[in-house]
Structure formats: structure tokens, C-alpha cells
């Protein structure tokens, strides 16, 4: 059948030129896609609009702010780092299209911080990131499946896995909430299932378990969650989901005067975003949460202090929260990775640098990094924190007690790991 109507030409036409020019253009011997004498081009897909965007939509700008700071201070071996952000609206099919665009049209050198488990699963499979040899650094997801280096040879995690997080929380539940009726609200996909498996393996049984499907979160559905939790008499409720689901859960619970001890998973516990989504700040007071990073308000922390300064100057007017902190840290990690790969920057070199030197990178998170030739695991641990009257979090017990573990059957252990110091002025000099 011949289509009678020609549709408006899409970016694919441009993509053709871009992909083809990989073969048609004579590049210098040491040149690499997305790298010129003056520039390193990077890309990220994440939800910038839509229901899942609150909070996440600040990460890219925070990364960019950090890169601008580095660029103003000489760049990476003289090259300026640029980041192209693409809005995937948290939908896998759009993530595929946007990643294709980044690679074929924009010709980025590497992906940094692509967000979402379903989205990265989709793009990795459909865009053939491994076959193309495109480095995908610091995935913004804790799905433990991405730690499979055989399946994801060019990808590197940064967050501790959801399984690690659940194992730390499981230990905490046993130590601090024994005998209480337990409730669990979790995203009913690999996100929550990763956690659920770890809870089960740790022997934690929930009296009320409420799964929800990603995308279904709303005030109306939260009513049913709260009803189930309250009817089951849950005294301690663990939440494993995204912030756009935490918000209706807490808001509805507050309205219903249902006030269990909340334990909010790290992904959905940013207080500023929760307040912006209508959660009364008082509800957060006393909520417990596994945390990997210091509070974004903790100016005694050298990373936070430096990042806040950069945010003030290069991300003007944007409130400094967990997402901004995470974005800045992604920038810091990226610059170290680029430097570690050397001046003759190649995709293979970047992956090799991640494998051989990545575990030594400075990062705001307290736990060790697991990168090696056989591992693409990022951070490996959490400490428990508690939120105060303003939603700000502090280490439970007054000081950080770090627990590290793995995504499998390994034990949860107290760690004495000492986080590397923030590079002077926040500018890495590693090689």
C-alpha cells in the first residue's frame, strides 16, 4: 500500500545524516564521536515535564551548572563539557526516541545519569548502547539488574541498588521497630520488587502490603492505600516509590489523621519536592529514611558547601535540595571519569577508566563505590536518618552510622569507610 500523505519530516532524516557522517567524515586519528579539541558533548534523558517530573527535572540543570563551573575553570584538559537534556516524560518509548536523537543527531560522546529503570531497560535494548559502545555513566536508578556487567558492559550505576536499600531498612526494622505492625507501599515493578525480594530474604514480614502500578499514583489511588494501611493497623509504614507517589500518600494520610511511623525510601523522600507537591511539612517531622548523602542543608559538609556555592552562582534562584545535590555530584563524578580517561578521550578509554579508577572517585555519598573490571556497581550503602520539623534530615542517633551490603545474600555490615575528600574548590585534578 502506498501512503498518500507524506508526513512532516522528522528528526530521523537528520539522524540519517548524523549517523552516516560517522563513516563519511574524515576524523583525526584520535578523535571520537562527541569530542572535539574544545568540547565534550554529553547527553541525558529524564522527565522534564509530566507527573513524574517534580524533582527529577532539576537534575540536568544542576549537572549543567557544575559543568559551567568547571568550564569557567579550564574545563577538562581544556575542553568544555556540555550536557544536552532530553525530556522523556518518564515513558520508555519516548526515552528510546530521545536517546536515539542524542546518539545519532546530537552525536554525544556518552550518556550520563539517564533516569528510570523501565526507560533505561528500553533504551539499552532498542538503541543497542552496548553494541555501539556508548558509555552510560551513573544510571539514575537503583535496579540491581543493571549490575549485570555481561548484559550492560558499557553502563555504570551510581545509586546503591534498591535491594541494598531494602536490606539496610530490613535490619533497621528488626533493630528499632520489632513487634510493631508493619506496612509496605511499593511500586509494583522491578523497583519495588527488588526491595520486596530483599525484605523477604531478610525475613521481614509486612502485615499490610500495598502495591501500586507506576503511573497510577494520584490522590484518589492514595485514598485506597491509606484505607488499607489504616484498616490493617500498620504502625510502621515503609514506602518504596517515587516522590510523585510519596506526596499523595502523605497528604492523604495527614488528611485522614493517620500518622504511622513513616520510613520513606531514598528515592521519594526529598522534603522540598514533597512540600511543593502539597505535603504539609509537619507530616515529615519524625519520618525516617535511609540516606546515602548528607542533607542538602548540612553546610558543615564540604561537598554540600561547595555545591551550594556553585548552585548560587550557576543555577541562580534554584532551591538547593536532594535533586540538585545529586545533579551536582553527577557532574563531579563525570568530570573525574573524563579526566581519568585521559586527554586522548575515547569511549573505550572512558569505560576502561571507570573500571580501573572509578572506585577511587570523590563523591558526596558516604559509601564506597564498587566499580572494577568485573563490577559496574556504584555506591554500596546507606545510613538511617530522621527528618525534623522543617523536613530537614539528620543522621539517626546524631552521627552517621553507615551500613554497606550487596544486592545478593551478603550481610549488612557497619562500615568504617572514609569518604574521599572533596577536591579543592570542587575541581578534580585526578588523572
Amino acid at each position: 500500500m502506498i501512503r498518500k500523505t507524506r508526513r512532516k519530516r522528522t528528526w530521523f532524516a537528520a539522524a540519517v545524516i548524523a549517523s552516516g557522517s560517522l563513516f563519511a567524515t574524515a576524523l583525526p586519528a584520535n578523535a571520537e564521536t562527541g569530542v572535539s579539541a574544545t568540547q565534550i558533548k554529553l547527553g541525558i534523558t529524564l522527565p522534564l515535564t509530566g507527573a513524574a517530573s517534580p524533582g527529577y527535572n532539576k537534575i540536568g540543570n544542576a549537572m549543567n551548572a557544575y559543568f559551567k563551573y568547571v568550564n569557567d575553570n579550564g574545563g577538562v584538559y581544556g575542553r568544555k563539557v556540555t550536557l544536552i537534556q532530553k525530556d522523556d516524560m518518564y515513558t520508555p518509548q519516548l526515552a528510546i526516541a530521545k536517546t536515539n536523537e542524542l546518539i545519532l543527531k546530537d552525536k554525544v560522546f556518552a550518556l550520563v545519569g539517564p533516569l528510570g529503570t523501565a526507560n533505561f531497560t528500553a533504551t539499552h535494548k532498542s538503541v543497542n548502547l552496548a553494541k555501539r559502545g556508548v558509555p552510560s555513566l551513573f544510571l539514575n536508578t537503583g535496579f540491581s539488574g543493571f549490575a549485570n556487567k555481561k548484559n550492560y558492559p558499557t553502563s555504570f550505576m551510581i545509586l546503591p541498588s534498591y535491594a541494598m536499600e531494602a536490606k539496610v531498612v530490613a535490619q533497621f526494622l528488626k533493630e528499632s521497630h520489632a513487634g510493631k505492625k508493619l506496612g509496605l507501599v511499593y511500586q509494583n515493578d522491578e523497583f519495588g520488587i527488588d526491595a520486596l525480594g530483599a525484605f523477604t530474604a531478610a525475613g521481614v514480614k509486612f502485615d499490610v502490603s500495598v502495591p501500586y502500578t507506576s503511573g497510577s499514583q494520584s490522590a484518589a489511588t492514595a485514598q485506597t492505600w491509606v484505607s488499607q494501611l489504616a484498616a490493617g493497623g500498620a504502625q510502621v509504614v515503609v514506602f518504596f516509590g517515587v516522590t510523585s507517589a510519596t506526596a499523595p500518600l502523605l497528604a492523604v494520610a495527614a488528611g485522614a489523621k493517620y500518622a504511622p511511623q513513616w520510613i520513606l525510601g531514598s528515592v521519594g523522600a526529598d522534603p522540598l519536592t514533597l512540600q511543593a507537591l502539597g505535603v504539609p511539612v509537619a507530616v515529615l517531622n519524625g519520618a525516617q529514611t535511609p540516606a546515602g548523602n548528607p542533607s542538602p542543608n548540612d553546610t558543615s559538609d564540604e561537598y554540600v558547601k561547595q555545591f551550594q556555592e556553585i548552585n548560587t552562582k550557576y543555577n541562580t534562584g534554584v532551591a538547593f535540595d536532594d535533586y540538585v545535590l545529586q545533579g551536582m555530584n553527577l557532574g563531579l563524578m563525570t568530570v573525574q571519569a573524563l579526566r581519568a580517561a585521559g586527554q586522548n578521550l575515547t569511549r573505550r578509554g572512558l569505560i576502561r577508566a571507570m573500571e580501573t579508577k572509578g572506585s577511587t572517585f570523590a563523591s558526596v555519598a558516604y559509601s564506597p563505590l564498587g566499580y572494577s573490571k568485573t563490577s559496574n556497581v556504584g555506591h554500596t550503602g546507606y545510613f538511617m536518618a530522621v527528618m525534623g520539623p522543617t523536613g530537614d534530615r539528620k543522621p539517626l542517633g546524631g552521627s552517621v552510622t553507615l551500613y554497606t551490603t550487596d544486592s545478593g545474600s551478603g550481610p549488612v555490615v557497619k562500615s568504617t569507610f572514609k569518604r574521599p575528600a572533596m577536591p579543592a574548590k570542587g575541581l578534580p585534578t585526578n588523572s
Binding site: 500500500m1 502506498i2 530521523f12 563519511a24 515513558t91 518509548q93 543497542n128 555501539r132 510523585s244
Partner: protein, 541 residues
């Protein structure tokens, strides 16, 4: 989520894309000498090959020596009554098709450049690869006899015609100098596995009275297949109505016999599961698995994007593929001598192990996935006749070993001959050239074998679902580029014809900047050596 009304029935859209056939009156008896007439500087000859296949040759007065041999796609080999809901009627025809769809503009453009065109209607419809190849070989001889100044024959074809074209390239490099299999079918076994899985999925979830295969012989089998056709389209209509009435939790069709507990999962999720286990794409003619109506709350929009739109894409694609699945199953069983679909050893959970993460919301999360896969694991499976399976395999397979230039082009969201068909030929050619390279090196030859395969893809835009002012999905618009079966533009066909002409005259495919410029000007044609389409499910995850 509010309810909405479709502006147009999906199934009606589906039918329109199945076939397009040239209406040309041609004698059907074998005719040694073509009957020719000349008008407007074009000589049109008609006749029939020794197997009674009608053909048509069209040659311009300024014939430059190159003739295009077109092979048409699958036409059902049985009549379909007009009363079949959602399908309409069809009468078997073997009219000759000398260019895609008999399109006058394509024919005119080629004749205008001095090229001739020809094509057969083939003696038998249905899956006719082997007889069609013989017919085409004979037709080439007839043409050369009629026009001795012929220097080059290039072959092209759509769908099953793409299979035939690839086979000609593999087996008769001495007869043709370049070939373009378009929206091609590859081996018949994975194709029929896809058809069988889709029908079995629809039957299992939505209407257990659908036979889905193992049809009786003779008139009884024909009646069974027609009943199946009606039932499949009826159940698709019921699903469409259910989603329209309640997109979030559409009811299961009244014909469904799944346990009540399973019906707690929305029927749309079962629809998505059918698409995933069979390998039907998750982007369709009008549904991009991405868009949501404007003006609805953000949370509803996300739900529509992640759960509703994908279900509608699955519905539309299954509607497009279902008719051919039923008709081809009946046809192949007749030729093979028994049931050819066997899923007794199929692990559907393994098949969707990666995709379930991608489509988790559309599948209603882990609970939905486990429930649906659990049911598929528990219900009785279908066993094939081993002799029929072996016979089927002999009806069509490609080696991928080609020495002449070939140009492959398909849509990545083709629901009938899914992109994995083209990918399998790409993979086999890669293996073949690797073998040749290894053999050359053993003999001390350090020159890599030439790459004679140009692989092009037609990708859908990132967003194309349209909505009415009231927020309902609008499927009255033309199918998006990169979707539907053989849904190519005139420009794309003409670009392929130009690429064939270049390959034929030079012995190699166009490349470099000239190729890229050609593709850019045409639109909707992507050359990307890093792209691989998903393998067909028959080959495993």
C-alpha cells in the same frame, strides 16, 4: 481517567492496510507468446507462464536495457465472505502486478526514465514462494526473448514478494543484478510462530472457542478458518469497546473464559501481553505508546502514556496482523499437511523477561505480569504435527548468502512482517561475509569481502498519536511513517528504484555522502549500522 470515544473503528483501519491489488484483466491460460499493444510510446504485453501465472510487461519506446521485476505480497488463497465483521469481503485474484500496488505513478516514473517494468500475479495465492520463484525465472526468460536488448534485470518486492526477491538474489545472481526485498518476510517458521502465538494468546485470554489452527481439511477447514476470522475480529471489537468505555479498567470480553481472579487484571494488560509474547510491535499506525490527550491532569496523562496508549497500540497492531495470521495458518496447514504451531515447550515468561520491565505499567505491574504469565503457564498448550512442521520449514527459508547488491528496507513498527524478519537476513549476511573473510585470510588474502547489503529502516516519529478536541484518540489520520505493513511513500519507493538502478549499473550499492543525501531528501529512511531490530520471538529473547 475519563472515558472516550474513538473517532473511527480500529478494525476498519486494519483491513484497509492488508492488501492492495492491481485490477488488470489478463488471460490466465498459458500463453507462449505475449499479446502486446502499444500506446503513448509504451508497449504493454500480457500473457501467462507455463504454470498459468498471468504476467504483464511494460516497456517504453526508449528502453534503456534495464527491467524491474516486481513480486507482490501475500494474497489469501481463499475467498473471504463479505459478512466477516471488520474484514469485509475478498475474492481470490491472480492479476498481474508489475509495480508496488500497481501504482501508476511508480510505473510512470520508471517508464519515463527508460526502464521497463514487469510482474506476475502468480499461479497460486497464499504462501507461494517456490512456485513464484519459478514463475519469475521463467518470466525473466520471456522478457529477454521479447526484448533481446535487455541488459539488466533488477528485482524488488513487498512482504512475501520481499521473500521471493531475496530468494532470487540468493539463488539466481546470474539472472538479476540487484534486488530490493521490502517489508520482507523471512523464514516461514518464525513467521508462523508469531502468528500462532498471537492467535493462541487471543484465544487463551479472550475467546476459547477460537480454533486458532489445526483446521480440518477441505470445506470444513475453510469454514473453521472463516469462523475464526469472524471471532477474532469480534473479540477485537469487544476489546476496543471495553477500552473506550473504561480505559483504566476495561472489562474482559463476554467470550473470555479466564478465571474470575484473572479478570481483576485489566483486559488491556492481557492484550499487551499477547503482543509481547508474539513479538507484535508496541507502536502502531496511530498509537505511539507515548502521547496523552492534552488538558487532562498530569497523573492521568502519565497513566495514559504508560498504560492506555500501549494497549491501544497492541490492539491496533493485533487487529492488523490477525487476519493474515488466520488465513496464513489455514493456508500453510493445507500445504504442510497438518498443524504447524507448537507451543508445548515455549517459555513465555522467558520471552518477556526483559520487556516486562519496559511495559510494566501497561501490564499492570508485577502482579499483573505474574498473573497473566501464570495463566499462560497453566493452560493446555498446542501440539503440532512434526511432519507438517518439517514440511513447513521446507516451504521457505533464506540463507542470507548473496553476491549481488541488495537493498533492504522495512518499518520498525510493521505489525505483520515485523522488523525482525529483515534483521534475520541482515544477521545471516553478516555471518556469511564473516565466513568469507575468515576463509580469505586463511588463503592469505587480506582484502575484506565487499559489503553488498544496504540496510535501511523506516522509524516512526517520536510522537504521533492524535486526539480530537474532546480528547479521544483519532485514528482517522493516515498511518504514521514507520508503522503498518509496507506503508511506504511514493518517494520512498522511487528512492529504492533509484538505488536499485545505481546498484545494477555499478555492481555496488550507493554509499557515502551521495547515499545520505538521497535518503535525507526522501525522508523516513534511516541508514544506521548501529541499529538492530529485535529478533523474532521464535529465536528466543
Amino acid at each position: 481517567m475519563r472515558n472516550f470515544k474513538f473517532k473511527r473503528s480500529l478494525t476498519l483501519v486494519a483491513v484497509s492496510s492488508l492488501l492492495s491489488i492491481t485490477i488488470v484483466s489478463i488471460p490466465t491460460a498459458a500463453q507462449a507468446t505475449p499479446a502486446c499493444t502499444t500506446a503513448n510510446f509504451v508497449t504493454t504485453c500480457v500473457g501467462a507462464t507455463s504454470d498459468t501465472a498471468p504476467y504483464m510487461l511494460m516497456t517504453p519506446a526508449n528502453f534503456n536495457g534495464t527491467v524491474y521485476l516486481y513480486s507482490h505480497g501475500y494474497r489469501p488463497n481463499v475467498n473471504v465472505p463479505a459478512g466477516i465483521p471488520g474484514y469485509g469481503g475478498y475474492t481470490v485474484t491472480n492479476t498481474a502486478e508489475p509495480a508496488p500496488g500497481g501504482n501508476a505513478q511508480i510505473i510512470g516514473a520508471l517508464l519515463g526514465k527508460g526502464y521497463a517494468v514487469m510482474g506476475s500475479g502468480f499461479a497460486r495465492q497464499g504462501w507461494n514462494a517456490e512456485s513464484a520463484i519459478k514463475t519469475n525465472v521463467e518470466l525473466i526468460g520471456i522478457y529477454k526473448k521479447q526484448y533481446p536488448k535487455t541488459t539488466k534485470v533488477v528485482a524488488w518486492g513487498n512482504s512475501l514478494g520481499g521473500f521471493i526477491t531475496q530468494a532470487l538474489a540468493e539463488r539466481y545472481p546470474d539472472l538479476i543484478s540487484a534486488a530490493a526485498p521490502l517489508c520482507m518476510a523471512s523464514d516461514i517458521t518464525p513467521l508462523m510462530t508469531m502468528a500462532g502465538d498471537a492467535l493462541w494468546g487471543v484465544k487463551t485470554f479472550f475467546d476459547s472457542s477460537i480454533k486458532g489452527g489445526n483446521y480440518s481439511s477441505g470445506a470444513a477447514g475453510y469454514a473453521e478458518s472463516m469462523q475464526d476470522l469472524g471471532k477474532v475480529f469480534t473479540v477485537i471489537g469487544a476489546l476496543q469497546a471495553a477500552i473506550t468505555a473504561n480505559p483504566t479498567a476495561p472489562a474482559w470480553p463476554a467470550t473470555s473464559t479466564v478465571p474470575a481472579a484473572l479478570k481483576a487484571i485489566p483486559s488491556r494488560s492481557a492484550l499487551v501481553m499477547v503482543a509481547l509474547i508474539s513479538g507484535v510491535p508496541m507502536q502502531s499506525a496511530h498509537f505511539d505508546s507515548t502521547s496523552a490527550p492534552a488538558g487532562i491532569p498530569a497523573s492521568s496523562a502519565l497513566s495514559f502514556q504508560l498504560a492506555i496508549n500501549p494497549a491501544l497500540a497492541a490492539l491496533e497492531n493485533i487487529a492488523n496482523a490477525a487476519a493474515l495470521a488466520v488465513l496464513a495458518t489455514h493456508d500453510i496447514e493445507l500445504q504442510a499437511g497438518g498443524a504447524v504451531f507448537d507451543n508445548t515447550a515455549t517459555n513465555y515468561a522467558a520471552r518477556v523477561s526483559a520487556e516486562q520491565f519496559i511495559w510494566s505499567s501497561a501490564l499492570s505491574g508485577t502482579a499483573g505480569i505474574n498473573g497473566l504469565l501464570g495463566y499462560l503457564a497453566a493452560v493446555p498448550r498446542v501440539k503440532a504435527n512434526p511432519a507438517a512442521v518439517a514440511k513447513m520449514a521446507s516451504l521457505g527459508t533464506h540463507s542470507g548468502k548473496v553476491e549481488i547488491p541488495t537493498i533492504l528496507f522495512t518499518a520498525t513498527a510493521d505489525p505483520v512482517t515485523v522488523a525482525g524478519n529483515q534483521q534475520s537476513v541482515v544477521d545471516r549476511y553478516a555471518a556469511y561475509t564473516a565466513e568469507k573473510w575468515a576463509a580469505s585470510k586463511k588463503e592469505g588474502v587480506r582484502t575484506r569481502p565487499a559489503n553488498n547489503q544496504l540496510v535501511l529502516w523506516n522509524l516512526p516519529p517520536e510522537k504521533y498519536t492524535k486526539f480530537t478536541a474532546a480528547g479521544s484518540p483519532d485514528s482517522t489520520t493516515p498511518a504514521a511513517t514507520g508503522t503498518n505493513h509496507c506503508n511506504f511513500t511514493l518517494s520512498q519507493y522511487l528512492a529504492i528504484a533509484d538505488l536499485l538502478a545505481h546498484a545494477s549499473s555499478t555492481g555496488k550499492n550507493l554509499s557515502g555522502g551521495a547515499l545520505l543525501t538521497k535518503l535525507r531528501k526522501t525522508g523516513g529512511m534511516t541508514y544506521d549500522r548501529g541499529y538492530s531490530a529485535p529478533k523474532m520471538k521464535h529465536y528466543g529473547e
